[in-house]
Amino acid sequence: MTGQKVKKIAIFGAGGGGTSAAAHLTTLGFEIRLYSQDESALAPLQEIGGINYDAPFGKGFAPVPVITSDAAEAMDGAELVMVVSPAHLHEKWIRAAAAHLTEDQTLFVSPGHTLMLIPHVLRDCGIENPVYCETATLPYLCRRTGPVDCRISRVSDFMVFGGFPGRETNRLHEIVSTVYPAVTAFSNVLETVFPYGNAIHHPPAFFANAGRVEATGGDFRHYYDGITPSVGRLIDTVDAERLKVADALSAKTMPFVELFWTMGYTTDAARDTGIAYEAFHQSEPDKWIPAPPQLEHRYFLEDVPFGHVIYSELGRLAGVPTPTIDHIIHLASVALGKDLRADALTLDRMGLGGVSKEEFLNLLEYGFG
């Protein structure tokens, strides 16, 4: 790696996160090359040659010079390859990128929090000593509001950042922080798994509001109305288990409420209570977010198999019981009528079946080199 300055960025994913990143980074002067396999999503953007944005930093049109479904074209000459997708698409995007990835390109996944999945897939694609980095959360609170429009309500001012192997974290951080100054270097990609906030609170909150979601088609505010004191207590119980797992693996992480406050989502008073109910009830940015219209939604479909299941698996590896998390995985599966462990991100799927805690921690730090 030459340490050259990032000028061109390939963005993989043209959903809310990908289009928001394309718009935001264009306004910052980077040259963006937007890639997706979904040609119908790309077509309207190609037609106008960019994306309209409505964001805290302004409102306007961001011209994007390359909008393509050809990964090689998107990655050509890019110093940074940024994957912005839901966790269940990571494998697909990484396979698309792997064939064209060069040694001097930095692979950055945001949000990542899929632990060793990406190195495992890269190795499967023939890259023996994979290197990449990720954040725990998306850099934006945003959504795609139309075929050529995105709305960014917030640009994150704090993101937990980790590299794989862990010993590469600082070098990778130097590169990525020139694009996103809000990234804060943690030790490794284990420490980006634990602050995946959605995984902590979406499954319990969604389960405890499942009847209302179905009865009303989601006609209530998910956080403000749905996270009541009892629901908050359930989230607190999940969080306590997550913290124990992290502790047993010597991973630095914060209690959820602390994390939520650090990211600017709630008040000092709520933070002082340490209670999830207060954190959400006093969250101005989250207040108006509506509940999803049905249970077939990423709050279950992504945040259970790629969130709760990872915590459960890491708990098993660390010898820490996670009863609440395990029960919620089961109950959410029954509620949906779909086994959410079946396609989940298990240690097996990351190529870690049978490894010991020590081997796992060693791999995180030193990789396959």
Partner: protein
């Protein structure tokens, strides 16, 4: 022997309904309440005012906070209290108990008779005992004021059993004249494992917890709250309950069969196998509102004295109950309680250390 004098222990919904109804039908009633304050309005009014199947003001022969006084001369002692009060009454009764006092646990939910007898044994009573129990209360009723009760109806085709089983016929013969709607079944395991309330109340509460707390329960519990996902979780609970019953050799019918038999849903809805549909379309339940908070008997009784003993029977039978266990755990977390520890465990039912193959004999013999 026929019953003429009944000691009714407990002056809540069930106790007041029983006191008014039995009084109206010519029985002598001796009513016990734990707190004098709850009896004062009854004393001042000169009895209980009832509406529904009985209409009027019904005097009560004795109102007392002294258990010994209440049971003096009674032909039957009816325990009409939440299961959490069983220990209190067992301790009060143990010193004055003798084999000639039949106990009617109304209702027993799951394992109520077993629990009460165990508490009596713990309190030092060693002689013979006869109990009978129904799975739910013999009345559909509600206490509407400190001395008023609405009695909508008797509970129809209500399953009844006795513990020990060897006295069950005798207990049935004693109680049936008071409550002709009761139907005798094989054992307390059968009444206990037919506790349908526990099967669907808990999924309904837990999966609507946010809605309940946000609106104070401002929705229709069955018609709106038992959605397809809630129905699927209910079905999983029901399947686990049926598996436990089957493993223990206890006759049992599905939730939908019970729901239909109780007149709560149509045959078409039952045949569809869709619990959500059966609840949403239930004519008798259509106007029933949600409880205003989780701090309600749908949780306290139906988790602690329903799902917890279901799981306990599952342990005894070697049958996994993951959905039941999940609901017990999540309910506990939400309410800051520990139902698995404080509810009706094998130990509290006096069944700890009993092998599955010995259960039937224990239930029949009482030892």
């Amino acid at each position: 022997m026929s019953v003429r004098t009944v000691a009714v222990l407990g002056a809540g919904h069930g106790g007041c309904a029983a006191a008014a109804d039995l009084g109206a039908r010519g029985y002598s009633v001796r009513l016990h309440g734990r707190r004098e304050e709850s009896l004062v309005p009854l004393r001042e009014q000169g009895g209980i005012r009832a509406k529904g199947i009985q209409d009027g003001l019904f005097p009560i022969d004795l109102l007392t906070t002294d258990v010994a006084e209440a049971v003096e001369g009674a032909d039957l002692v009816m325990l009409a209290v939440p299961s959490v009060a069983h220990r209190y009454y067992a301790e009060a009764l143990a010193p004055i108990m003798h084999p000639g006092i039949p106990i009617f646990v109304n209702p027993g939910h799951t394992g109520g008779g077993l629990h009460f007898v165990h508490e009596l044994r713990q309190a030092g009573y060693t002689d013979e005992i006869r109990t009978g129990e129904t799975v739910t209360l013999t009345y559909i009723c509600r206490k509407t004021g400190p001395a008023e009760v609405d009695i909508f109806s008797y509970t129809k085709r209500l399953k009844f059993s006795g513990f020990p089983g060897k006295y069950a016929d005798e207990m049935f013969a004693l109680i049936e004249p008071l409550y002709p709607e009761i139907v005798q079944v094989s054992s307390v395991l059968e009444t206990g494992l037919t506790n349908i309330n526990a099967v669907f109340h808990v999924p309904g509460m837990v999966m609507n917890a946010g809605w309940i707390e946000d609106t104070g329960g401002d929705f229709l519990f069955y018609r709106e709250g038992i959605t397809p996902a809630v129905g699927r979780v209910t079905k999983a609970v029901d399947d686990e309950r049926l598996a436990v019953a089957k493993a223990l050799g206890v006759p049992s019918a599905s939730f939908l069969e019970n729901f239909h038999q109780a007149g709560l849903t149509t045959k078409e809805a039952m045949d569809s196998g869709d619990i959500s549909r059966a609840c949403v379309e239930s004519e008798p339940n259509k106007a029933i509102k949600s409880p205003p908070s989780l701090d309600h008997r749908y949780m306290h009784e139906d988790v602690g004295y329903g799902l917890v003993p279901f799981a306990a029977f599952g342990d005894l039978a070697g049958v996994d109950t993951p959905t039941i266990d999940g609901l017990v755990h999540v309910s506990s977390s939400m309410m800051g309680l520990d139902f698995a520890r404080d509810g009706l465990t094998l130990e509290r039912m006096g069944l700890e250390g009993i092998a599955a193959k010995d259960l039937a004999r224990f239930v029949e013999q009482g030892a």
